[in-house]
């Protein structure tokens, strides 16, 4: 297996008229990696992918594939294959013709194409379906045909634009595993686009979190989840409780924040912001629902929060307690269900505690829309 072909974006800007769709993106994608761009709808994910595949010219900056500058090279000449958001299978071609369209272009004989189509159909677990038309397949099957069609072109880099978004939940989870396996087997670089953080976290080696044309953070799933660089990344990836306030004191890697609703609280400064937060700065502190626990009555200090419980729910694997937070947001506490009995707290005031390492503080910034 080769090391794979890497992709680099260097100072990439893409504008549509006055509108900036991608702002100064710098991304290094290692060969053979499964790399995801994660961000809400309209943040410029598809635009980046189109610049990599060659359908869009950057307004500024470079796209490098395997170290070669791709500017001026058309999409039919790049070593990439794109799986479109809507798949874009050819409706008037049979499945096997769809899959081997790239071979038809290279002038392969019909027998060769048939043979390759059968191999790929086996790989995507759709044997003997080659003579159907795409319209005769289910959504998940079409999905796999689109993957096979792209792989048949033997690209160095496979680009996937939210390919699972049209599938139902079960199939989506199944296809995640399958995609990851296919990627390991073929060993080529996958660049995957999604607005679903679950997909990004489970499949990717590395993730870039995007917001309105800007890349907020690049890192592996754990780094993105545990050590967010911005308020947006913290609130977009996974569930998070936010506490706004000002930095009161900085001690090495930790800070004391005087919060608007819960007094002074202590938190870890996220790696990307070490040394950048100063006393008096507006800041946001995030604590995950699973990092909060109910404290003994009367406890108080810089890692305790009081809360008025509004409602509770039993979710099966966890018991969730909701209380009033700031700015219309709720504070959610998620207690894992380990067989213990749960007390009802609705209407009561309770005290919550957390460990400093589980609270992270970043400069105040825009939050992700719910």
């Amino acid at each position: 297996m080769s090391a794979g072909v890497g992709v680099d974006l260097e100072n990439l800007w893409i504008r549509f008229g006055d509108f900036v769709a991608v702002r100064d993106a710098n991304v290094h994608i290692k060969g053979g990696d499964f790399f995801s761009f994660l961000g809400p709808s309209g943040c410029g994910k598809t635009t980046i992918l189109r610049a990599v595949s060659g359908f869009l010219d950057p307004s500024e900056g470079k796209v490098l594939i395997g170290g070669n500058n791709m500017i001026g090279i058309g999409p039919n000449k790049r070593p990439t294959a794109l799986i479109f958001q809507n798949l874009a299978l050819f409706p008037l071609m049979k499945v096997w013709e769809n899959i081997t369209f790239s071979m038809e272009i290279r002038g392969a004989s019909s027998a060769e194409r048939r043979k390759r189509a059968d191999e790929l159909l086996d790989m995507i677990a759709l044997p003997d379906q080659g003579d159907k038309f795409p319209s005769e397949l289910s959504g998940g099957q079409r999905q796999r045909v689109a993957i096979a069609r792209a792989l048949c072109a033997e690209p160095d880099v496979l680009l996937l634009d939210e390919p699972l978004s049209a599938l139902d939940l079960k199939l989506r989870q199944h296809m995640r595993t399958e995609l990851r396996e296919i990627q390991k087997r073929v060993g080529i670089t996958f660049i995957y686009i999604t607005h679903d953080q679950g997909e990004a976290l489970t499949m990717s080696d590395d993730i870039a979190v995007m917001r309105a044309g800007v890349i907020d953070q690049i890192g592996d799933g754990k780094a993105i989840y545990n050590d967010p660089a911005t308020a947006f990344a913290a609130s977009f990836v996974g569930e998070n409780n936010v506490f706004r306030g000002k930095i009161k004191q900085v001690n090495g890697g930790e800070a004391l924040i005087s919060t608007n609703r819960s007094g002074d609280l202590v938190a870890r400064i996220s790696s990307a912001n070490q040394g950048k937060l100063n006393v008096g700065d507006d800041a946001m502190m995030f604590i995950r629902p699973e990092a909060l626990a109910i404290a003994p009555d009367g406890a108080s200090g810089d890692h305790f929060v009081t809360a008025n419980v509004t409602h509770e729910e039993f979710e099966g694997n966890s018991y969730n307690i909701f209380s009033e937070g700031e700015g219309g947001k709720e504070i959610k506490v998620s207690i894992p269900n380990l067989g213990q009995s749960f007390e009802n707290h609705t209407g009561q005031s309770i005290t919550l505690e957390y460990e400093t390492k589980n609270a992270v503080v970043v400069p105040a910034g825009e939050l992700a829309a719910e």
Binding site: S53, P75, L82, N86, A88, R106
Partner: protein, 306 residues
């Protein structure tokens, strides 16, 4: 069928429904089917002076059809060479006009169908507005362009391409241009309609997989546009073969269009049965040709309506 009628009346009420249905029936049956049937009937009868119509001589006969093939009874030739020649030349010319039109209009339709923005509306308007002008005036305008002392010759001679005027009319170039121009919209709009609904991603997917532009058209766009192409071609072929004004005005003196023969039979010879027979032959042959070509390219009848 009855279900359909019931729903139709429920939706529109008995009064309005009856009027609408009556008008449609009057239009299709009264104005199209019945007159055509009477033409068909004419074509099988001898040409008789009015007093003898309905008399003992008014019997069904194949004379009028025989005339097209074999010429006048007792004539010097074995075949009616003149009329037959006009007949097949008309069909070939109509087919050529259709092909020429298709080649010209496909890129235009593709451009209109796949680009976005307001300039498309302006473009379409520029195509449509000339059709507000009467067909005969448009044909005469082309005469001004293609005539011996016309614009084109003046330019060509002035720029030294020719040293004497080229006779575009005698060489039928003016006629083909006129026919082509007359039906350009009927070719463009059905194709435009289909191509507009083609998902752009299909084209991009083909390009991404390495296809050069011609293969994208051959394998993706044209198969998709087939219903529009066939509907455009059918209309242009039928209307060109049946055109009268353009051949009258732009045709060279030596080249007759079959419709002109039909016109002569009706008008100059006052032989309606003979004219009707010629018209029936033209119609049936055209339909047969269209059906044959549709079969060859595996187009369904339903596609034409798209």
């Amino acid at each position: 069928m009855t279900g359909f009628l019931k729903e139709f009346f429920n939706r529109n009420g008995i009064g309005v429904g009856a009027i609408m249905l009556g008008l449609v029936l009057f239009w299709t049956i009264g104005l199209i089917v019945l007159p055509q049937l009477s033409m068909l009937d004419f074509s099988f009868r001898p040409n008789l002076p009015p007093p003898e119509i309905g008399g003992p001589k008014d019997v069904y006969t194949l004379e009028n059809y025989k005339y097209l093939v074999f010429g006048p009874e007792g004539g010097g030739q074995d075949y009616n060479a003149v009329d037959l020649r006009v007949f097949y030349r008309t069909l070939i010319a109509a087919a050529l006009v259709t092909i020429f039109n298709l080649i010209l209009c496909y890129p235009i339709s593709y451009y209109l169908g796949q680009s976005e923005g307001n300039h498309i509306r302006i473009f379409a308007l520029m195509l449509i507005i000339p059709y507000w002008i009467n067909e005969i005036l448009r044909a005469f305008a082309l005469r001004i362009i293609f005539g011996e002392t016309g614009v084109l010759n003046t330019v060509l001679i002035g720029s030294g391409v020719f040293d004497q005027p080229f006779d575009f009319i005698r060489n039928d170039i003016a006629l083909y241009a006129g026919l082509g121009y007359a039906y350009i919209l009927l070719m463009i709009f059905p194709m435009y309609n289909v191509i507009e609904s083609l998902d752009r991603n299909q084209i991009e997917a083909a390009r991404d997989l390495g296809a050069p532009w011609w293969r994208i058209h051959w394998r993706v766009v044209i198969p998709y546009a087939k219903p529009g192409i066939s509907s455009g071609c059918t209309m242009v072929f039928m209307l060109s073969a049946g055109a009268l004004a353009a051949p009258q005005i732009l045709g060279g003196p030596s080249s007759l269009w079959f419709t002109q023969l039909i016109y002569q039979q009706f008008n100059d010879n006052n032989d309606w049965p003979q004219g009707a027979a010629y018209a029936v032959v033209l119609l049936v042959t055209c339909i047969a040709l269209v059906l044959a070509v549709m079969r060859l390219f595996k187009v369904n009848m339903g596609d034409i309506g798209k």
